[in-house]
Symmetry: C2
Subunit: 980 residues, 2 copies
């Protein structure tokens, strides 16, 4: 049998302190009544807050209440009153069985009125009438005004529960008796009126123990210390027992007996705040010693359960009454005045009621706002479902794709495209609008569906993933609404960074929404981009993370705990919002906040496969289309209201959307033959000159501007120079975004470190960018002492193997400047490879260097062999040519500065006219100039090759060229061997 049930045998009632709807609806209240003898329940703003504002339990009722009133306090009361009424009704049998002595539910008057007796009375009367149940207690704080109000209210027959300090107890009891006496005098019934008075227990010990601990210090006398120690955790119970003794004395008195005879109930004492705060103490320390008649013990759930599990049930309340007095006097000996302590608690008390009450109203207000929005946005919700249905149909028709990853972001896309974004379905290339980039590219179908619904595209949605459709499996700019190709995760945020930079340069105040997945946030590139956006104060950048909690292999790293990803964005300097990604109220409220400044991350808790029961949150559905049967079942579940929402074209205010795409002019170049100048320096000098002509030229550098020589541009055009820090992926992504916004970006770092951004360049090659110039400096073993980690030896292979790229490799300052100029006039991705060391100027300033060309630097009819070189090896080849000539071997020398496309014609002629081509390159043997020549010219003659193999080392450039057979001596040897 439940221990709680046996409390009754000792005259004590067991109440709970946590009324809420859940407790009523899930049967807990009834179960506790039946099995544990629960006979009352108090309501409490903190509990209501959790239930009303923090869960969906009350949403339907709130919606109903909202139709009647906009006042949040009124709504709260309406909700609370309903709960209290139901609880009263459940407890009515107890009330009746105990002849009105027990079976109560309490509800509090606004604590803001605690010091105004009249206002408190008005509030109490209102609640009393509204609830309209005899077994209701109106809860009133025990302030002077509160006690005054009590007397009147009790006289009026309203049941009251008071919360008060000990000193005021007698006054309270007096008020009760006076009220009863008045009623008696006026012939009113006494039995129907009831009152209880609550004592807070644990808080007393907390306060007294703190004082006692001041007396437990190594510096004080042992006696003081021992005394203080022995009194820890004693005050509350002792005090309660004394109060109870007082109470008994009054009950025994003549005055009370008279009232009792007339049917008056005693004003029972309620032990409240019975949960133990100090973990060193017993968890039933405020239950066990306070069991006795005419009392109520109100417990939190946890305490009730603890007591039920191991509580000792005995009548203890009248034990040691003398001891209790001793404890108080011993406290007084230690200069601890329990009166002062409880006085202080009462002073704090009203605030302790006000805080949770206000928190409740605030939380409820927010929830009301959200629900109001949700209600207002039912068409959007229908649109989300419509997008879901289309997505499922499309992927089933295609037989592949990622439907579940689309379903999780349906509300987000609906909210963006049909409400928050200012855009124009007729203008895919407009820049004076908010733009959207789908970083989680595998959700492409829902993007196509949204664009189609908005009338922005007229492609057949069911052509998804077909060869002749612009609706590919992952977004590419074949579809005009896609700024850059996505689908390799973690790239989108860097790209919107670039779009935001372009907007800032052009005075466009628009937002750039980037939708990411949660698993995607494991990519470091996301954090490079996050750092960049915050450090560059890119206000318009909005990251929305569709945290559906699942990735291919199982749960995403942090499941649905949005706080982890939010915490990271915060640590990277972003404003963050965590929302329910299926709640349109939440989504729209969050999106509205992105209108303010600051990069903002919205972490949306969503469910993968949301909207279809067998997909929602289910494992094993990543990247799988539904078969026809599953598709039909899914569509049957989705309410397919045929909503249509017209998208009004909206443009933003743009200070100056410029179109200044000047063709590169004929730049003046000024070097003398033989000047020693590094090609990287010439590149830097050309950049600075081009900056004058090309308004749309923007330079990004990976913290090596002193090495790549972009510093000269940075000094001259600081507003168009971007310090991209040591974060190559973001740098390339930002350049893609700039290019996708009509800028002519140039990215520079060590050629070796471009490998860091290989995947970004790969995606750039599928992004149909008008211009993107990439400069890799410090090419080859010729950098020397820094060693292999800093040597670009695979950059040509990397850039050649991308679609539609141009690879240029100047050997002197003139060709470097001219090729830089050419690069900015050449469509698509152009790679410029520069050299660290100084090289002599070979060309006249007016020389032209067309893409696809080459320069024959030495040629005669006696040429036996052709030396094909580029960059640094042009100089060693020329040296070898001179030495060989001295030794009687004539060689042709070709500067193949255009590595891709090659000057096939010239090379073929050389192949025909000489006995073979010897290609010399400061690059790994695979994938470079040598293989390109062999593949494209080899059918007409023999192609030989000197390139880097073996692990390079730290050493002087000369020593390294010697070791890797790129020196003139090595060329001579090889040429002589071939000629032999």
């Amino acid at each position: 049998m439940s221990r709680l049930l046996t409390l009754k045998d000792h005259g004590q009632s067991f109440w709970l302190d946590n009324l809420s709807r859940g407790l009523i609806e899930d049967g807990t209240l009834m179960r506790r009544m039946r099995t544990q003898g629960l006979s009352g329940i108090t309501s409490n703003p903190a509990i209501f807050e959790k239930a009303m504002a923090g869960s969906g339990q009350y949403d339907e009722r709130i919606r109903a209440a909202l139709t009647k009133s906009d006042d949040v306090e009124a709504i709260y009361e309406r909700l609370a009153i309903a709960d209290v009424q139901e609880a009263c009704d459940l407890l009515l049998p107890v009330y009746e069985e105990t002849h009105t002595a027990d079976g109560y539910v309490s509800l509090e008057v606004s604590p803001h009125l605690a010091h105004d007796a009249e206002a408190t009375m008005r509030g109490a009367r209102k609640l009393w009438q509204a609830v309209s149940r005899r077994n209701l207690y109106i809860k009133i704080p025990g302030t002077r005004a509160g006690i005054a109000a009590t007397e009147t209210l009790l006289y009026e027959g309203i049941n009251i529960t008071l919360l008060f300090g000990i000193d005021a107890y007698r006054e309270t009891l007096q008020a009760y008796m006076r009220a009863m006496e008045e009623r008696l005098r006026d012939g009113l019934d006494l039995r129907s009126v009831s009152s209880v008075a609550s004592f807070f227990l644990s808080r007393i010990d907390v306060a007294v123990d703190r004082e006692l601990r001041h007396r437990i210090d190594p510096g004080v006398s042992e006696t003081l210390r021992d005394q203080a120690e022995s009194l820890l955790g004693q005050a509350a119970v002792a005090n309660a027992r004394l109060v109870y003794a007082d109470f008994c004395e009054v009950l025994a008195g003549h005055r009370w007996r008279h009232l009792a005879d007339e049917g008056a109930h005693p004003q029972r004492i309620v032990w409240a705040s019975t949960g133990t705060k100090d973990p060193d103490y017993s968890d039933v320390m405020y239950i066990e010693p306070l069991i006795g008649p005419q009392t109520v013990s109100t417990m939190p759930d946890k305490t009730a359960d603890a007591f039920d599990a191991h509580g000792r049930v005995e009548r203890t309340l009248t034990d040691d009454a003398a001891d209790a007095a001793t404890i108080l006097s011993r406290l007084a000996d230690l200069d601890i005045d329990l009166g002062a302590v409880t006085e202080q608690l009462v002073a704090e008390g009203v605030q302790k009621f006000i805080d949770p009450y206000d928190a409740l109203l605030q939380g409820l207000e927010a929830r009301c706002k959200r629900l109001r929005r949700s209600a207002a946005h039912e068409p959007l919700a229908a649109m989300a479902d419509k997008l879901r249905a289309k997505t499922i149909r499309m992927t089933t028709a295609a037989g592949s794709g990622h439907p579940t990853s689309c379903l999780s972001c349906a509300e987000i896309l609906a909210a963006l495209f049909f409400e928050e974004m200012r855009w124009d379905p007729a203008s895919p290339k407009a820049r004076d609008v908010d733009r959207f980039l789908l970083s989680k590219g595998h959700a492409a179908p829902i993007l196509w569906a949204a664009l189609s619904e908005a009338g922005a595209i007229d492609s057949d949605l069911l052509s998804l993933r077909q060869l002749d459709s612009d609706l590919q499996g992952h977004p590419t700019p074949e579809n005009p609404w896609v700024p850059v190709a996505t689908g390799s995760l973690g790239q989108g945020l860097a790209v919107v960074n670039g779009m935001a930079l372009a907007n800032r340069l052009d005075g466009i105040r628009a937002r750039l929404f980037c939708l990411l997945g949660d698993g995607e946030c494991s990519e470091g590139s996301v954090w490079e981009a996050a750092q960049f956006a915050a450090d560059q104060h890119l206000d318009g950048v909005v990251a929305i993370v569709d945290a559906n909690g699942l990735e291919q292999s199982g749960p995403a790293p942090y499941g649905h705990d949005t706080s982890v990803i939010a915490g990271r964005f915060k640590a990277f300097g972003w404003r963050t919002l965590e929302i329910d990604g299926h709640d349109l109220g939440d989504i729209l409220t969050a999106l509205e906040q992105t209108r303010d400044a600051g990069p903002t991350a919205i972490i949306a808790r969503t469910v993968k496969g949301q909207g279809v029961s067998f997909l929602a949150g289910a494992h094993g559905w990543h990247g799988k289309a539904l078969d026809a049967e599953q598709c039909a079942a899914a569509l049957a579940e989705i309410k397919a209201a045929d909503v249509r929402i017209a998208v009004e074209p909206r443009h933003v205010v743009a200070a100056q959307v410029r179109d200044t795409r000047l063709p590169p002019g004929r730049m003046s170049v000024d070097y003398a033959h033989g000047d020693e100048v590094a090609t990287r320096s010439a590149f830097g000098s050309a950049l600075a000159k081009l900056g004058e002509t090309l308004d749309d030229l923007v330079v990004l550098d990976g913290d090596v501007k002193g090495s790549t020589k972009t510093a000269s541009f940075a000094d001259r055009f600081p507003e168009r120079f971007v310090a991209a820090e040591i974060a190559e992926q973001n740098m390339l992504g930002a350049a893609m975004g700039l290019a996708a916004s009509g800028k002519r970006p140039c990215v520079a770092t060590f050629a070796a470190f471009l490998t860091r951004a290989h995947d970004f360049m790969r995606m750039a090659s599928y992004s149909r960018l008008e211009h993107l110039v990439i400069c890799g400096s410090h090419a080859g073993v010729s950098i020397g002492e820094d060693g292999p980690s800093q040597m670009g030896l695979e950059d040509i292979a990397m850039l050649r193997a991308l679609d539609a790229t141009t690879v240029l490799y100047p050997c002197d300052a003139v060709s470097a400047e001219r090729l830089t100029e050419t690069a900015f006039g050449t469509p698509g991705i152009v790679y410029l490879r520069t050299t660290r060391g100084k090289t002599p100027v070979l060309y006249a300033a007016e020389e032209g260097f067309p893409v696809g060309g080459s320069k024959t630097l030495a040629e005669s009819e006696q040429d036996v062999l052709t030396l094909v070189a580029a960059g640094i090896t042009v100089h060693t080849a020329l040296e070898a040519h001179a030495h060989l000539r001295e030794r009687g071997l004539r060689t042709r020398v070709i500067d193949a500065y255009s590595v891709k496309p090659l000057d096939v014609e010239t090379l073929q002629r050389a192949a025909r006219e000489t006995s073979g081509l010897l290609v010399i390159e400061d690059h790994h043997r695979a994938g470079g100039l040598g293989e390109a020549v062999a593949a494209q010219v080899g059918r007409l003659g023999r192609v030989f090759h000197l390139g880097v193999s073996g692990e390079p080392h730290s050493a002087t450039p000369e020593a390294l060229r010697e070791r890797h057979r790129l020196s003139s001596q090595a060329i001579e040897q090889q040429a002589l061997a071939l000629a032999a």
Copy 2:
């Protein structure tokens, strides 16, 4: 003239509340005395804490004190006493000029004794004797015990200042008078004894205003609201004036006049807590209305300055005495009992003294500990300087390098290598030790210097960066102490992750220290690694960030604000410590904490170029060696104490350091000719089988285990399967770390996404790893519908262009299993390329597939042309072969499964025996099989090529092979054209 100075005219003294050494030393105290009439100063634990624990001001004194005592309270008193003495001496002229009436300094007794009169008296006497100055006040809290102690102490002639509540005021005054009367009776001098009593002002208003605000609510009556509003901010001053009136009354009384006649000073009232808390109130609200004789106003700096700037100086203290009483009674009308409020403040008061006092002792304790360590580690400090000197010499000799980046981490390296790390200078390959990885590889010289000093290497330090030296510009494993090559920033942390995984597998409980730069933390790969270490609970991983605040281009993103990077590590789940990276006490304390569990990041605030005046914190020195003259100047600055510290070999407890490197056995393979199996599936199946034989096989997958088919291994060997999430850079880095710890790692993801980790693979190729198998699945346009973002079309070019790699490309299940087996027995990096779709089994189970081999699948003497294929194109080539044969054209078909190294011999024979080779590959035309064959075989015959060019699309694999001319039909067309 200063307004503060004129307070004196009204009998009020101006004191400050913030004594500390700084105030004395910088002349502020003297200046305020001279110009503002400052005539007293109180000391205060919060101020002392800031100065003693939070700054270096007291460090020398603390060091001296530490030689005398270890007790922190004694040290605090020693420091405080010295300050108080100096302040007393400075104020002595005031004391004398005012005939002992003013010019006091206060010092408090431990508030822990506040409730023990005897203990308080002992404490007070001790301080009084120690300070030994007549113009000292001993500060005592106004508890009952405190007041009792006061009387005795005053009688003994000790000056007392009391802090108390208003109700106790009379008692205090009585105690004072009784003490004076006793002294008089016993013939003791009265003039030399003095006492003041302090009232806290602002705190009263804070408490009362909070109460008043409860009465200002829309729900309460207008009257109540108005009354409450009119009383805001009035209580403290009103109360003070009433107290002052009391005081004056006592002074006017007979009893006092008698004492005064005998020379007794009145017990002056001190207004304390005079800083305004509520910003709505005047900032001099506790100064202006309380000016009057026999009082002291103690101000915080800010209030003093505000009053000096705009205070009104008038005698105001006796104004409106009646009004003051009215205010109190109006408060009482509102049920606000000022007595209760002040009672509460007193109750809180002791705690408000204890908290800052304890904080002071704690802070001081920490500083003592740190200074004690610093002192104990002077040899380490000398070692750091020695490493600095060597570094500078080395880089000057080399003529290049990064000396300033070495100087910033000298103390960190000294602490690690010569104190905290458990390692063995004789065992570079030991694993049962703590290991170190220099992620900021450009600081290599100081690593070499440390290893040399420890006797771990005997290389000539001055050979740095020379061709025949193992001391390269950036670390490579040519030096046996370097686990993997570093120098491309942002890679080290991922590598130590792998080393930690290996340690966990082998039960080695050691730490892995990784030193990073601050600029380096911009690399996203750092955050991939940070996430991985935390999510995998890699306890031994320690990141040390050398936050020297400068990078190549200028300041690092967050300068010296270590909190930004620390906040990020925290958000990624790490424990973090922010320290002064040049303070060995700090460093060693932090390193000690890394012995506990949990990945730990130490963010060390350092100065780039530390130790040399013209380098320290100077811009423009990144990556520059000093010339001979600068070198000499630098060495002259560095105190070159010739310290030697022997490193004792220390090994950690290792549960089971296993060496189970079995050679791959002959695996059983079971497929029938013609079975349709994807090579990726066969790879997965082989992995699972190899897991049985190879204990050291560890598989890492980038959240695509269902696609790469590593799932079969994961299911079978979960402890050796690493879910590396969508973070390819960390995945590769971790694999490098595993390989550097003797494991046989295998990494798998889509071939396309390997481009993400290109730079890591590049560095892996310089890392002399015994084994690293990389599998790229979903190769070529043959993946079909997912589109270009998911297609690996440049992977062969990428892997071929790295040094010492092997590239294998199976076409059926048998070759896939056999090549997987071969890969794990092949040294260095082996790349395996697999295909998404199913292909028929071609080979018998027992077939062998050696590296460098090929399979001729069709051959005859009539062969006109050779079709060279690999992977998926082997099947289209075979189909074409059959069709061509029907049309009378005989072709040879070669499966070139070993793409690197190629089977040159077989291909050369085919080139000789047929009229040409037609290479067909599902890869971009550049850098793949076609160019490899052209370069290596082309000199013997014509090489033609069908490969992917143009942008691929979403479509079926068949449609894409058709469009990109890889289908059998396209091969037939091309073959017929070539044959014609």
